[in-house]
């Protein structure tokens, strides 16, 4: 299996299936295609077109099967590797995990646009719009309620696909110094303590590509 991903520093969608596969022990080969505009690779669109018809990353190639869209990749893996715990076993709990994952997949656009994932950026706080604050409040409520029921440390106890969906959010809340509850902080720490997260982070920091659209301090680029 090949997982085609974008820049590790910036591509939040790529982090999701990558961390799921790493953390759950599913072997794969990765291919990084850095974003094109304006300083990176101008062949970006042409290169991803050979892997996925939607023209977006991430994409999974498994023999003749090509799967795109993060959530669809996670569902594909859940079916192919039923013993690896992509989703919780209990049907009711699984339904809730999928609702949370879908809510992430389609939502929180204010937070996503104001706080783009930028792993190498040193922690520095940022003022959020009311809409982004509402996104954070909803996310905190959701995380707290899931962890209160499961007992943690992850949303449904063990690490699962839904934690993979929220891993970039944990990173954003950390990077932009967003004030969160003690409980939310514990969850962020649990995600960031995963060996898979540390591996992604180290590779992201080693990248040299800069995407101005994702640098909120532009033309300053904060680096550690």
């Amino acid at each position: 299996m090949k997982l085609i991903i974008g820049n590790k520093n910036y591509s939040s969608w790529s982090l999701r299936p990558w961390i799921a596969m790493k953390a759950l022990g599913i072997a794969f080969e990765e291919i990084v295609i850095p974003f094109g505009s304006p300083l990176g690779n101008p062949d970006f669109k042409a290169r991803i077109a050979s892997y996925t018809p939607a023209g977006k990353l991430p994409a999974l190639v498994d023999g003749d099967t090509r799967v795109w869209e993060t959530l669809a990749i996670l569902e594909y893996l859940a079916e192919k590797f039923p013993a690896h715990g992509l989703w919780p076993c209990e049907p009711q709990v699984r339904a809730e995990a999928r609702a949370l994952a879908s809510e992430m997949h389609a939502g929180f656009s204010a937070l996503r646009s104001e706080c783009p994932m930028n792993i190498r950026r040193p922690i520095k706080s940022r003022l959020l719009s009311a809409a982004a604050q509402a996104d954070v409040a909803r996310i905190e409520t959701m995380w707290q309620s899931a962890r209160a029921r499961s007992g943690g440390p992850f949303l449904f106890g063990q690490f699962s696909a839904v934690d993979a969906m929220y891993a970039p959010v944990a990173s954003r809340l950390d990077t932009y110094g967003i004030e969160v509850s003690r409980d939310t902080r514990d969850y962020i720490d649990a995600v960031m303590a995963l060996p898979a997260f540390a591996e992604w982070r180290a590779a992201a920091i080693a990248e040299t590509w800069i995407v101005p659209e994702d640098e909120v301090d532009w033309p300053t680029v904060l680096t550690a």
């Binding site: 018809p53 939607a54 799967v67 869209e69 569902e75 049907p91 609702a99 809510e103 997949h105």
Partner: protein
């Protein structure tokens, strides 16, 4: 029995998705419509789901929100209804395009809101919306070519992927979007579904007009049920 909590049938594209999926697959449910943006509707929805959005599926103690998660839950609970294609490669493809719908096509969605009673007429569209339309036509045609041999729908017989795109079919019709012949044939098959007709009838009979979803408010022209 399942209970679906829905928004207005005329306007709520997200509600339409699980409703037509469950109905066409023959999964029994009862339903409750909460008119959106009305007095107390926000509180009413929040009382049923912490996400504060419709649709919501209630199954005993289980509450599922987000249309895609509802369809996944129904697919697991009623495997015989075959909400997803049986072949793994087709199923992966169906989930990819369903998810692409779930999170995408923002320009089309905001410029061409679902509005079933609006008499079909063109509207000026942004380049982004035109690109959305091109991508949707390409993905429908590709799915039909590769997986559609057994029937008129994206994967032959009706699946959750068709349910996810049902509101787009409605929008293409309402905003008189130019489409290719194969796309027109697919749209005809969707619109001919008994469930489609049932939903549309109910939508056209609703009394609730939402100003921000009407192009020419306060001028609101409405198709009649038999039109």
């Amino acid at each position: 029995m399942f209970r679906l909590i829905l928004g207005n049938k005329n306007y709520s594209s997200w509600s339409f998705r699980p409703w037509i999926g469950l109905r066409t697959a023959g999964i029994p449910f009862d339903e409750e419509v909460i008119p959106l943006y009305g007095e107390g509707s926000k509180e009413n929805i929040l009382a049923r789901s912490p996400a504060g959005k419709v649709p919501i599926l209630i199954d005993g103690d289980v509450r599922v929100w987000e249309s895609l998660a509802i369809l996944e839950y129904a697919a697991e609970k009623f495997p015989a209804a075959q909400l997803w294609p049986a072949d793994p490669a087709a199923r992966a493809h169906a989930r990819a395009i369903s998810t692409e719908m779930h999170a995408g096509f923002v320009a089309l969605r905001s410029e061409c809101g679902m509005n079933m009673w609006r008499p079909p007429a063109r509207k000026a569209l942004s380049d982004e919306a035109k690109a959305n339309i091109a991508r949707i036509q390409a993905l429908w045609t590709d799915a039909r070519d590769r997986f559609g041999a057994g029937g008129p729908f994206l994967f032959g017989r009706f699946t959750a992927a068709d349910a996810m795109y049902a509101p787009v079919v409605s929008r293409f019709e309402t905003y008189a979007i130019d489409v290719t012949a194969p796309v027109a044939a697919y749209m005809d098959a969707m619109i001919a579904l008994p469930a489609w007709q049932e939903w549309r009838r109910a939508g056209l009979n609703e009394p609730w007009v939402i100003a921000k979803f009407e192009d020419h408010y306060p001028d609101v022209k409405r198709l009649k049920v038999d039109a």
